[in-house]
Symmetry: C2
Subunit: 619 residues, 2 copies
């Protein structure tokens, strides 16, 4: 056993040699960024070894680290297996996250599955020995009291409060019996589990009010930042991979339930339902279900249906007997979050042509032709969320979220107005949009050659050569921040994926751009993307500019509606069954469309404003 | 911390002073008989202190122990609180129990709730991404796969075996999915939980065969030998009393499941249902439900309905997802064991007048008038099971189970033909029957005065005086075995309770003795009671001698039928609802009837054979 000390926090702990430093740190809940999940690929899991013997530098480290980093003791924690006492300096800090916790909520019927009812227990007599259970069931129409409930109750006369749950079959179940009159206290929790962020609202189910909110980074980040890395973790740990991922998200949720209860001044024992929207991978992992089949072609999931189970069966801490409702999904890549969004936006009942899009690592698109629904998923990759980008970071304090390039120089806006530390998703989008607008990057995605620019051109000083590769220099101080050719290519692939999905779906529905009445932008990330960036970076075409509507975190809103309305639950389940999923790869001509959609819009300064001339409907 | 060593077994363990020696021994699972549950009343929890300082002799011990016991270091373990290292000699041994494991089984439809079905999972494709769940539900008609089941499964093509459960509402639920074809393996367990003994059969649900049997003393004996003492334990331990009683019986059942699986060469993971018959107190305690209301007037139970719950929810170890079916009860003192018995005997469909009686600490009686059912419970007390009797013991090796008194002397038959160690229930019954027959005890229950007997009368030498009290001496060696006046009074009270219940019930139904077609004797104890004892000791009247039918452990048989037949479950639930319960104490004139029924039958040698002249129908 050796000791590790973290210099910043003075945290100390013992470890057994044998594992990588990254594994040791994560097991102690020390935050180290590790987008590639310890594969020695991303070069992000840096730590500075202040004292101790980290072992020889590997060739991978020599490639991924700069010489000045190596000189000052920086190492990649996934590549070293320490074998001595060590003092470490962490290179990243867990920053405050910028999380969307609101959104559009339509009018809807408040008819929750769960309600309370007062009952009165009479004193028995020798001529009326009616059991406690039968006294309750005569008043509530629940035929039996579950043994778990009975085992917490003592027989005495007087008032009890029954908590009743109506199943999807319309049967009444008794969830709990509380002594006395507790009818004023009935809470639920609505949750959106994102791959990155988990958002929670405590809902007063008697008033429909959101009593408190909280959000947290998904603790599964320890197992990889994106769904595929986490699925790979399951594949590599068939014994307990799924269980450990489940444990991580359940712990996150329990912590948030604790927080919102504290904020609202209630006990978690008053929470009788938890409703969850999530993408399909997160839903599988929440339930401890193997997600491996989601990660590989042909992408068939283990399940898509909604489910209503005992919350405690997966370790969630709420009232004894509390329910967990998982919203329904459509397919591996059209999850419950999208079904919720489609429902919140009323796509099943619109009399218009409405396109719904949730932009993230995957771009999910749903098209409603007067209530007939088609959907697809586009593998955009993590670039749009600021990942796999050389200077990328998540949307937290210090992240550049907007940028303007002009003759006066580069102006950036950062989250929290902190000194710029990197580019988050909206930042890289704004940067690319500006690079296109100023002609620094050409329609085909290549940087302009500096020597093609006049000596006096303001753009020339913003570029540098790294070997033969051109790079755009945002800042050299305090951090060196770049947009590389590789970064632009990442955005270009993402944009191509989403835009081609957009066209393909319209096409499948036999519609044209002019037929579109509305474009709904959903989700955490979309809410931070102004039309200028969306259109300027060529993710969506110019024609939809005036049709954009931002609906916010519609996954959590869907969970909230499910909590408050059994009608909403049944309608979402029905909706999920009606959403026809289109696998883009199976559409004839899709590859050519994708290639066309890689072209950036032709809006370079001085260029034409006509966009997407090369993109044509397929049919 | 001091050490205790048991001389017989050489078992050694440490203890913290503060508790009674009885508590210390029971917590180490050392068997000490304690019928009064450590109240210092019964004088049974004797141990011999070989070395160590047991503390001063209490006045209670002086009363309850003989001088020669005191002289050789015998103490009552519930009355001393040791405070030193000790060596102890145990006074009782756990003897092999004589347990009934068979009985009459009627013909019945085999339509179990649980069955297996083979399903075939197809490899998905890009154009058919049907989820694993949907592939299963299309083949089984189960709409969803429970999350717990999904979390144990990996998606691959090929054969799976679905285990299906049909709920009481007729809905199909998927309990489990096993990889490959396991359709040959499907087991259940039928259990009768008696207050004293628990009996278990492993049932091959494909063939209906009982594959293995086991029985065990109910481990709740540590908390008291009869239901009232155990209920008192719950009352005195409101925090965890019910939970500890539950734990004890669940551990017993798990141990028996282990045994029957080993005997049959199967894994417990092949057991998908456990069906239980039990009296109401045992059923409450199995489910961890507070039984306190059963123990005091007006005796209203917490529940009587059947229930079908997850076996693992109370800690039973079988297949994941296995069900526990608890048979329905009628009232606090007409439990599921009696409903099972009534069902096994076809009382609901007979076209005769049939009386069913289960004799034990309580005598439960059901009368069927061509399918119309009345029932009552008689508080017989533990005497008929050999408890609260000066030389009483349970029905294990060495217990006297039959006796004959004649001029040649006293002839006893013991279980296992061991030297006589005491009288079990059938033994005390046989003894009283013989004492009545020989006129040693008079009709009113009093011993004949020895000086009223001739000097040469063989009976005179069998009697002795203890102060003014007369005692019948069975043996002086190896153990001193007596029947005291107090013992006869105990039996007399028991007989009065049962016989008066018998008449009261007939009476309530407007029937007379001559109307009776059959008398069914059920249960562990009844099976060991020959008609001679039953009638000779005056528990049942002479007139029913030719109408007796012994049906064995009909509680376990009912559990077995429930396991094998959903029809049986539904019919038993219906039957329980139809059994009208009569509380004897509320019947006008019952007290006089009870007094009349205390009289022993008039069959003393030389006396008239006409019996029960004084007993008349009430109305």
């Amino acid at each position: 056993m050796y000791k590790i000390k973290i210099v910043q926090t003075e945290k100390e702990f013992l470890y057994e040699p044998g594992k990588t430093l990254l594994e040791i740190l994560l097991s102690e809940n020390v935050f180290v960024d590790n987008p590639c999940n310890g594969k020695g690929v991303c070069g992000k899991c840096k730590v500075r070894v202040v004292s101790g013997i980290p072992g020889d530098l590997s060739s991978t480290e020599k490639q991924l680290l700069k010489q000045e980093e190596i000189d000052t003791g920086v190492r990649l924690s996934c590549l070293i297996r320490p074998d001595s006492n060590m003092e470490l300096e962490l290179m990243q800090k867990e920053r405050k996250h910028n999380v969307l916790n609101s959104g559009y909520v339509p009018e809807f019927a408040k008819d929750p599955d769960i309600r309370k009812q007062l009952i009165r227990i009479q004193k028995p007599s020798l001529t009326d020995q009616t059991s406690f259970e039968d006294q309750v069931s005569r008043q509530t129409e629940c035929p039996v009291i579950p043994a778990e409930v009975l085992s917490r109750i003592h027989f005495h006369e007087g008032l009890y409060t029954a908590v009743l749950h109506e199943t999807d079959k319309g049967q009444l179940e008794l969830m709990a019996l509380e002594e006395g009159d507790t009818s004023e206290l009935l809470y639920g929790v609505a949750i959106d589990i994102g791959t990155t962020t988990v958002v929670t609202s405590l809902v007063n189910m008697r008033t429909s009010e959101q009593a408190a909110n909280d959000s947290m980074i998904n603790a599964q980040k320890h197992f990889g930042l994106d769904v595929l890395t986490r699925i790979t973790y399951e594949l590599e740990n068939p014994e307990d991979g799924a269980a450990r991922l489940q444990e991580a998200i359940v712990e996150s949720i329990n912590a948030m339930i604790g927080n919102v209860c504290r904020d609202a001044g209630i006990e978690k024992e008053q929470i009788y339902e938890i409703a969850v929207g999530a993408n399909s991978t997160m839903m599988h992992m929440l339930l401890g279900v193997d997600a491996v089949s989601i990660g590989k072609s042909p992408y068939a999931p283990m399940f898509v249906k909604a489910r209503d189970i005992a919350a405690e069966s997966i370790g969630l801490k709420a009232a004894p007997g509390a329910r967990l409702y998982c919203l329904p999904s459509v397919s591996s890549y059209i999850g419950a979050d999208i079904v919720a969004g489609a429902y919140v936006c009323g796509l099943q009942e619109t009399n218009q042509n409405v396109l719904f899009i949730d932009i993230g690592t995957n771009g999910e698109i749903v098209f409603s032709n007067h209530g007939e629904l088609l959907c697809c998923s586009c593998a955009a990759g993590p670039a749009l969320e600021g990942m796999n980008i050389s200077s990328g970071m998540r949307a937290c304090e210090g992240a550049i979220e907007d940028m303007k390039i002009s003759e006066e120089g580069i102006h950036v806006k950062t989250i929290g107005d902190e000194p710029p530390a990197g580019l988050c998703g909206s930042g890289i989008m704004a940067a690319v949009k500006e690079l296109i607008r100023t002609g620094i990057v050409r329609k085909d995605g290549a940087f302009v050659k500096p020597d093609k620019l006049e000596e006096t051109d303001y753009r020339r000083s913003m570029l540098q050569l790294n070997g033969k590769k051109r790079e755009f220099v945002i800042a050299k101080e305090p951090a060196s921040l770049l947009v590389t050719q590789g970064d632009v290519r990442q955005v270009q692939l993402a944009k191509g994926a989403i835009l081609s999905g957009f066209y393909a779906l319209l096409n499948q529905a036999g519609k044209q751009m002019k037929d579109l009445d509305q474009v709904m932008i959903a989700g955490q990330f979309g809410a931070h993307l102004p039309a200028d960036s969306l259109i300027g970076a060529g993710i969506l075409p110019e024609e939809i500019r005036d049709k954009l509507v931002y609906v916010g975190n519609s996954s959590k809103t869907g969970a909230y509606m499910a909590l408050m309305s059994r009608t909403a639950k049944r309608e979402m389940e029905e909706l999920a069954g009606k959403m026809e999923y289109v696998e883009l790869g199976t559409i004839e001509g899709y590859e050519r469309l994708f290639a066309d959609c890689l072209i950036f819009p032709d809006i370079a300064e001085g260029g034409s404003k006509g966009v997407f001339k090369r993109v044509r409907p397929l049919l």
